[in-house]
Symmetry: C3
């Protein structure tokens, strides 16, 4: 396949691969990210890979969020309501991949970044340096990638509401106590733990991994339609003045650049909330 | 609406309301509580409220339990098996309200009080002063308001059995570790946290709150019929000698009065368990 | 009934029974274990028992795992694909018994031992001396007794994958933090806690226990078919060279004997993983 532009691939062995996100300045999720991962997954399926780890080359950003600058993407989505959005298709595909998937989280994983890690099989986080959350309510939109469906099975209904209504960040320790991630580790122990676990899994027979994935999926996966509906609701929100009001002001302040807005997004959104008289600001 | 008799309403802003339970001596749940909350919810829906917090004017009692003294209520229930009990209807309505709901728990919340908080979207508790549980097995009845259905999605099947079979109290710290509540706080930090979170949520666009509620409900709510069945089983139990045996003795000892029986109800019930020769006691 | 050979029965009272596993050298699960428990359960149902506690006479082994030495069992299973395996039938029966069930866990509970405790209503563990896990991936087989179905409702989807893919042990403290068990206790407090809880439950009216079991089951049990499919997948794995390769070498090293292999099984399996050129080893 063509060399990916959004991540690096390391093949530790024929059965243990690592995808390292590397898309400066803040590791945004976008269409190219989606396409390149789909291509990688097809290759991994063909080569009987057992386990893929996802980490980041940038210690400050795991995956910042979805690229909100693509105006033509909104036009396309609104013109094709019957289509499943490619990121939704990627996320539901991840849950069904015929190998084990592990998110190793250091830095900021908000919005689509959180949705990504929620759809891998397992999540391990730096206790101090992981920053996880669904900030979308702050830009007047429901999260599109399905956390309303995925989170309850990990953290329960009550904590799901707290995460989605509050739109705040969570560090690794709280994410562990909520079940948002499997475990958190002191930052300097994270990589060692993940590598040892992935290496161990990759030594086992692939058929067992596939059987486990199959039966856990039977017991836990929700209908794909729930994910399409949430992504459609996200884009409907993006098409409303309230979202555009906040997003424009955030872009003016530095959204999607390396700086304070991305670092403290849940605080920045509160400066620009929409109200009937906001347009006169 | 007529002035409520079971709680006070504070409108912090047009979008952030607070209901403070205030029904001495121990904040019992009863028909008037149910009617008054229904009326309040209808008004809140009409005025586009974003978030409602539920707390208590009494630091010792959040909501003690359902009023067990109403004999004519039992007669009515038995004569109308087709009806959904008003408290069941209120609880299922709470889970579907088009705004965010938060229980801020200090003091005793047993039985119907626990069922109430389980049906709000989020629960925050005083670490030291919250006392939460389902004591009903101690009066020879299944809990009627549906915790057998709600608890598994928060605490898992095993801890649900422990809570319902044991009929014991839980403090805020354990409730947090089980997921019975979202978080617990040192008592003097609870109000500040809840107010800040509610205020933040109330600043966001209401449509987003409604979208979140909708999609989390799609993924988590169980059929309404499960709740009717449990409430019917509760009243069937109330109609049996074993329940009446314990309840009569508890009333004689001080049930529904401010005192030791209400404070230590899970211990008091053990004094009066029914057995074939109990009637000769 | 004939005297059981795999456990001892203690009738603390007419309503509170204890089953103490006692099947040296390591408390294997096998056909006799299954038959004897079925017989005991039928008797307990007839005598209106309220609660049964399951503990072990051997502080090092709770239930080691399923007896892997029975070659004729594999032949029978393969010849009768329509049959539900007796251990699967036992496990699903346990979840529906008309009384409360409690696992009190000290020592090693792997594989079928873990599956057993997952199907009792409640689980309490020695913090230091409980060793719980599903090691089966290490012998190139999916766990047969349904943990892919049971675990998600206790520990969530992500931790389920970690437990099943990793095949590692967990102590009581981690099992509690994951929700694999209800609670863990310092070893010298476990028995006292369990006895007091069981005694309390046994003092309550049996109808209430049955109502609770019924409604929690309505809200939590998965279709029986999922369990048959997993057990069939286990035996299919046992019939493959990869499983036989590992199992033969483990037996040579001391599997099912009291010793290092059973104590450190998750480490021992890594020595014997199958690969295309393993047969030349």
């Amino acid at each position: 396949m063509a060399s990916p532009t959004r991540f690096n691939l390391t093949e530790h062995s024929p059965t243990f691969w690592r995808v390292t996100f590397d898309n400066p300045p803040v590791n945004l999720v976008d269409g190219a990210f989606t396409d390149e991962l789909n291509e990688l997954f097809s290759r991994a399926e063909g080569e009987d890979v057992s386990v893929v780890v996802f980490d980041s080359a940038d210690p400050e950003f795991y995956l910042a969020h979805y690229d909100l600058s693509a105006k033509d993407e909104l036009d396309h989505v609104l013109a094709h309501p019957e289509e499943v959005h490619p990121y939704t298709a990627l996320l539901t595909r991840i849950t069904k991949l015929p190998f084990a998937t592990i998110s190793s989280i250091r830095g900021i994983a908000r919005g689509a970044g959180s949705e990504f890690l929620l759809d891998t099989d397992m999540r391990f986080a730096s206790r101090e340096k992981a920053v996880i959350g669904q900030f979308e309510i702050g830009i007047s939109a429901i999260a599109g990638g399905g956390p309303a469906t995925r989170l309850p099975g990990l953290v329960g209904r009550g904590r799901t509401f707290e995460i989605l209504y509050g739109g705040l960040d969570m560090d690794g320790a709280r994410a562990e106590s909520y079940g948002y991630v499997n475990r958190s580790f002191p930052d300097d122990e994270l990589d060692g733990f993940v590598d040892e676990l992935a290496s161990r899994i990759s030594s086992f027979v692939l058929q067992t991994i596939r059987d486990i994935k199959h039966f856990v999926n039977v017991a836990t996966l929700r209908p794909d339609a729930e994910f399409k509906d949430q992504m459609d609701a996200f884009w409907a929100a993006v098409n409303r003045p309230a979202q555009q009001h906040v997003a424009e002001r955030l872009f003016d302040a530095g959204l999607q650049q390396r700086g304070d807005v991305e670092r403290d997004l849940p605080q920045w959104v509160t400066r620009f909330q929409y109200s009937p008289d906001s347009e006169q600001d």
